[in-house]
C-alpha cells in the first residue's frame, strides 16, 4: 500500500525525521506513537505530501509520490487532523462534498454518498446544514472524518483525531472509529501520543523517538519483547498514574 524508503526531513537544520523505512499494509490499522517531537506527525505529513522528503522515496500502490502527482494521489487518501480543520465558511455538507463537487459529481451521487457517510459516522442528518461554529467538538471530528472518506479513499490518515476532545466524547468517538475502521477494511494510519489509544486501534504499532522508529509490532509484542528499555518506559509512563481517557 504505502512504502517509505529512506525518507527523512529536517526543519531549519534540525532533524525531525532520520532516514526511515516503513511499510503500511492494506486493511490494517497502523498507529504512529511517541512523545511529542518524535517525528510521528512529520511522517504522516510526508505520506500525504504536505511536506516533501529531503531524500528517499514515498510510494503509494507502487507509484512514487512526486510534486506533480501529489494532487492526484491525495485524492486517494483521506486526512483528518486534531481540531478538524473544517472550513468555517462552508456548512458541514459543504465541507464534506467540496472535493466531490469540484470533481463534478452529480448531485444525486453526492447526496447518496452523504447519506451513507452520515449513517457510518452516526452524524445527525440535520446537522449537515450547520456551520462548523455551530457544531460540537465531537461533531466536528465526525464531519472531518466524512470529508476524508467522501471520495472513498484507499488510505485514511488521522493525526491525533481525538486529541482535542473531552473524555466522554472521546470514548464515544473512539469506539465508533474502531467500528468504522473495521467496517471499511481500509489501510489506516493514526497518529497519537496515547498508548491506550494505540493499543485500542493498532494492528501495528510504530513507536518513535527523536526522529527514529524504536520498535514496530503488535501491542503485545511491544509489551513482551521490548526492543529497547525506552519501549517499556514509554508504555509504563502512561499506564501508571491512571487510565483516564485511555483504554476502553
Amino acid at each position: 500500500m504505502i512504502e517509505l524508503r529512506g525518507v527523512n526531513k529536517s526543519f531549519a537544520g534540525a532533524q525531525a525525521l532520520a532516514p526511515t523505512d516503513l511499510q503500511i499494509e492494506a486493511g490494517r490499522t497502523t498507529v504512529l506513537i511517541g512523545p511529542s517531537g518524535c517525528g510521528k506527525s512529520t511522517l504522516l505529513r510526508l505520506i500525504i505530501g504536505l511536506i516533501r522528503s529531503d531524500s528517499g522515496h514515498v510510494s503509494f500502490e507502487g507509484e512514487e509520490l512526486t510534486q506533480s502527482n501529489a494532487m492526484q494521489l491525495r485524492r486517494r487518501m483521506g486526512y483528518v487532523i486534531q481540531d478538524g480543520g473544517l472550513f468555517p465558511h462552508l456548512t458541514a455538507e459543504g465541507n464534506v462534498a467540496l472535493m466531490a463537487r469540484y470533481l463534478g459529481w452529480d448531485e444525486l451521487r453526492v447526496s447518496e454518498r452523504l447519506h451513507d457517510l452520515v449513517a457510518l459516522t452516526r452524524f445527525p442528518e440535520d446537522g449537515l446544514l450547520r456551520y462548523p461554529a455551530q457544531l460540537s467538538g465531537g461533531q466536528k471530528q465526525r464531519v472531518s472524518l466524512m470529508r476524508a472518506l467522501m471520495l472513498d479513499p484507499e488510505l485514511l490518515l488521522l493525526d491525533e483525531p481525538l486529541g482535542a476532545l473531552d473524555p466522554m466524547v472521546r470514548a464515544d468517538l473512539q469506539s465508533d472509529l474502531r467500528t468504522i475502521f473495521q467496517d471499511l477494511g481500509k489501510a489506516v494510519v493514526l497518529v497519537t501520543h496515547d498508548i491506550g489509544e494505540a493499543a485500542y486501534f493498532g494492528d501495528d504499532i510504530v513507536l518513535m523517538r527523536a526522529g527514529t522508529i524504536v520498535q514496530q509490532g503488535a501491542f503485545a509484542e511491544l509489551m513482551d519483547h521490548p526492543a529497547d528499555p525506552f519501549v517499556t518506559q514509554f508504555i509504563n509512563a502512561q499506564r501508571r498514574p491512571s487510565l483516564e481517557g485511555g483504554i476502553a
Binding site: 486526512y79 487532523i81 472550513f87 465558511h89 467540496l98
Partner: protein
Amino acid sequence: MNLFSVRLSSTIRSVLSLLFVILSSFSTTAFAQSPLKVGSKKFTESVVLGEVIVQLAQSTGTPAEHLQEMGGTRILWNALLEGEIDIYPEYTGTIAQEILSGEKVDDVESMRHALAKRDILVSAPLGFNNTYAIGMREEVAARLGIEKISDLRVHPELRFGFSNEFMDRADGWPGLRERYGLPHEDAKGLDHDLAYRALEGNSLDAMDLYSTDAEIRYYGLRVLVDDLGYFPEYKVLLLYRADLETRFSVALAALKRLEGQVPATEMVAMNARAKLDKVPSGQVAADFLRAKFNTAVDYKEKTLITRLIERTGEHMVLVGLSLLAAILLAVPLGVASARYPNLGQLVLGAVGIIQTIPALALLVLMIPLLGIGAPAAIAALFLYSLLPIVRNTHAGLRDISVQVRESAEALGLPDGARLRQIELPLAARSILAGIKTSAVINVGFATLGALIAAGGYGQPILTGIRLDDTGLILEGALPAALLALVVQGAFELVERLLVPKGLRIEPEGETR
C-alpha cells in the same frame, strides 16, 4: 458551484457597467468637441477674467470651457505649453519675473519675442495694472490733498502699516522709502486683513495693497499714483497658444476687443462684486460684457441641484475609477504577497512608501506625467488606495489557520480552486474592510483633485475658501461627508452579501 465567486463576479460586473455609464456620459459632455479651453489661477480676479474670456468667446458661437482655479503660475504656464489650456490671463510682471526669469526681458517687445519662440502669443494689455500700491482712506487723502506717493513726503505724521511681505522685500517698503525719500520711520508690519480694519478704525493712515483689490471699493480707499514709477508693472494681458489664430480666429478677434478696455476701477468693481457681494463670477463677467460691448451674453447660474449632480458625477468618477483600478491591482498583489513572503515584503514596503507621500505632493507629482485634470487625480487616488487593500488582503490570507490551509491542500484541491473556494472567502471580510477604508479615504482625498482642475466636490470648497464663503465650502464639504457615509453603508451591505454566513455566526459553545 461556489456562491462566493458567483456573487463576487456579478458584483464586479455591475460596478463596471455602472462606471462605464457614468464615464461615458461624463466624457460625451466634457470632451465631445474640442472647445476653447480657458484657464484661470486660484484667485478671484483671474477667475472673473477667465469667465469674461469664456463668455466673450461663446458670444461668437465658439464653444468654450473654463478650467477654473487650476493653481499658480507654474501650473497654468505648463498647461498652456502642453495644450491642456489654450488661453489664460497673465500679468506682465509675472511673465518677466517668473516665466521668463532666466532671460532678459526688459520691454514688451523682447517679452513678445521670447514667448513667440515657445509658440505663445500675447495680446496688448487689457488696461489695469495690478501691482503693489499705497492706499489711504478717501476722506483722509482728500482732506490732506494727497493724490500721489510723493505727496506723502510732506506728511511725516502719517502712520503706515504694511503686510510683512511688503515690509521685508527689497522692492517693497525699504526701496519705496528710499526712492521717494519718505521721512516715515516707524512703519508697522501687520496682517493684511487687519490693516484694512486698522485703516477703517483710524489707527492707520496708509497701507500697501494691490491696485485692484476688492477691498478698495469696500473700504472706500484712494489708490495713490506711483508718480516715480517705482512699482513694477503687472499689467494684465491674454497669453495664448499661437495655433489659436487658425483654430479659433473668430473668437480670438472678439477677445482682442478686450485690449485696453478694462481699467482698474472696473476691475476693482468686478472683484468686489465677486468677492464681497458673493455674486457668481460668471454673472459678474456677463454684466461687464453687457455694459461694455452690449454683448448679449446668455449667462445663467446653474442651480444648486444641477451643480450638485454634476459634481457628484465628477466625484464618483474620481473615486470609482481609482478604487476599481486599485482593487484590480491590489487584491492580486496582496494574494501574491501572502504566497511569496519575500515578494510580500517588497510590495508592502513599496505601497507603504507611496502612502507616506503627502496627498498634495502626490497630486502635483502626477501633473508632469498626466497633465492637469481628472486622469492625474485618478492616478494619485489609485496609488493612495493601494496600501489598505494590499495590506488587508495580505493579512486576511495570512490569518487563515495552518490547519485550514493544509486541510484544503490535503484534499487534493488545486491551487486556483483553493484560492477561490477557501482562501478568498475566508479573507473576504478583511479584504472588504481594506477596500472600504480606501473608498472612504478616497472620497475625502478626491476633494483635493479640484486643485488640479479635476472637478468634484473640491471645486466649491476651493471657491469657497477663495471667496471666504462658508456656504460654498459647505456645498462641497457636506456632500463629500455624506458620500463617505453612503460609501461606508454600501460596503456594509456588500459585506453582508460577500462575507460567507458561516463567518458571521458566533460559535454556540459545546452543543451536542
